[in-house]
Amino acid sequence: MAESTTMSASGTGSVEPAPAKSFSQRSWRSKLRRVPLSGWIGLVLVGVPAVVAIFAPLLMPHSPTEIDPTRALLPPIGMEGYQPGHLLGTDNLGRDLLSRLIEGARISLLIGVLSVVLAGSIGLTVGLAAGYYSKWIDALLMRFVDALLAIPSILLILVILGVLDPGMWTLIFVLGITNWVIYARQIRAEVLELRERQFIRAAQNFGVSGPTILLRHLTPNVMPSFIVLSTLSVATVIVTESGLSFLGLGVQPPDISWGLMLTTGRDYLATAWWISTLPGLAITFTVLGILLLGDWLRDALDPRLAVGR
């Protein structure tokens, strides 16, 4: 009935003009170079606290833990009663808020990055192993992963915090060992798909050993989604960390965390709103920056994760 193969059915799909096609085929490298506005905002919002955290000692006008009751509850610049030297004011014990925010950035980002490194390494290893070695290892690991994903991770975190002594390193450990499951699931799904591709088959036929295939062929291919997941995880971890510290279960004084600063601020809402407002803004903008950065990386690196957007 049809005249020729070139005359295939024309649906509404053919209504789209041809130039639209070339866009999706453009490689991720060139997409990465085209940074959208939201990507720039993300870079700035993440860049500022990151730079501040690295150069913290140079930037802090005061010692973040120096107590001076005579200078307690000073307001930030622009308000009545502002005292030069304390740009963002002081807290109830007269500690300089700007210096505390800078030190807080350091600890929040350190916890965020280290725990994601821990979660990422576990998740990557489990995901690769489950995906590549399949059969019963896969079944066992995925059963475990599904069970862990079935409950809110905060529960597990709380149980562990109930038996370990709180503190920064405990927090890194706890957040690390509770967040690896998302990686494991995603990486495994990708390995399962990659395993069937020609180049992996070819490597197997050439007698390349399992670990070599995992390391040299599979790992680079799962990197894009690994990077995206890691970026977004840092955001989740920073929020969780500040929440736990706010509850008194996370970072312990004299260490400083943005979440911990909020606990103090909550008691002085009526008299010194800035103590709770400023660290919250710091958390929000940092997390916002990471989310925007993650969205951009996802669009540029990994179309599979962008499904449904």
């Binding site: 059963r143 149980v159 109930g162 038996v163 370990l164 008194g248 601020g265 709103w273 709770s276 919250g280």
Partner: protein, 305 residues
Amino acid sequence: MGTYIAGRLAQMIPTLLLIITIVFLLVYIVGDPVSLMLGEHATPEQVATMREAMGLNDPLLVQYFNYLGSVLTGDFGDSYRYNQAALPLVLDRIPATLTLAIGAILLALVIAIPLGVWAATRRGGVVDSAVSSLSVLAKAMPNFWLGIMLILLFAVVLQWLPVSGSGSWAHLVLPVVALGTGTAAEITRLVRSSMVEILSQDYIRTARGKGLRQRVVVYKHALLNAFVPVTSITILQFSTLLGGALITEVVFSWPGLGQLLVNAVSMRDMAVVQAAVFVIAVMVLALSLISDLLFKAVDRRISLG
């Protein structure tokens, strides 16, 4: 149908068992329940007697099965802080937490559905950009900080609503808003993306071709099809929300499960912690079953295997 539910219930057992096992290992192996109970100043004799009494000198497997046995009868041990059985203590707090969580979900849906639909029908426009910017911002804001800011504005400065506590509708407003905002952002994004996809479907063109009003096309033909993905995320969000509720409750001194659990963790009241974790896990698993059953009712194309 009955066999399906039975099958799904059976699937929950290994998950619950795993959770119980993890908690058991953490509390009995990593943590030392005796020193937790007796405190740091107990004499070695006291500790030894206690260990014997609690069966902690038995082989690990014996301890494990004893523990499983008592969990099965609903016995998670006594709270040393309240001097009563842990499970009833936890169950008592559920209504307050559920009130908060359901309120937050309803608020989120009321905001998210119209906003997501609005953005989807004006894809690429100003409204769409504004909605997605707002939802990223809302997602970035930690709910406990939002809660503090709401207290600052509405309770301290404007004095319209109470700072914290419970007992009246007014007490519910701020915690529900604090908890619901992030969820609203998440659901808005999802409603938007499913609606964008659905609005490009052939049957939407058919509905337009019939000359139906835009309102009917969008809210009847399209939104109906968005029901399944939106419900599935909403229920998933519910479990995240329960996690978020733990902190929100502390901010607002809301007498729910979260406050009990957080206090128990900081007091090392492990019987309460275990009971609370178990109860929340059961709730979350039950929700996922309910969501599956809902799909079956709405979408008969999904065959249950």
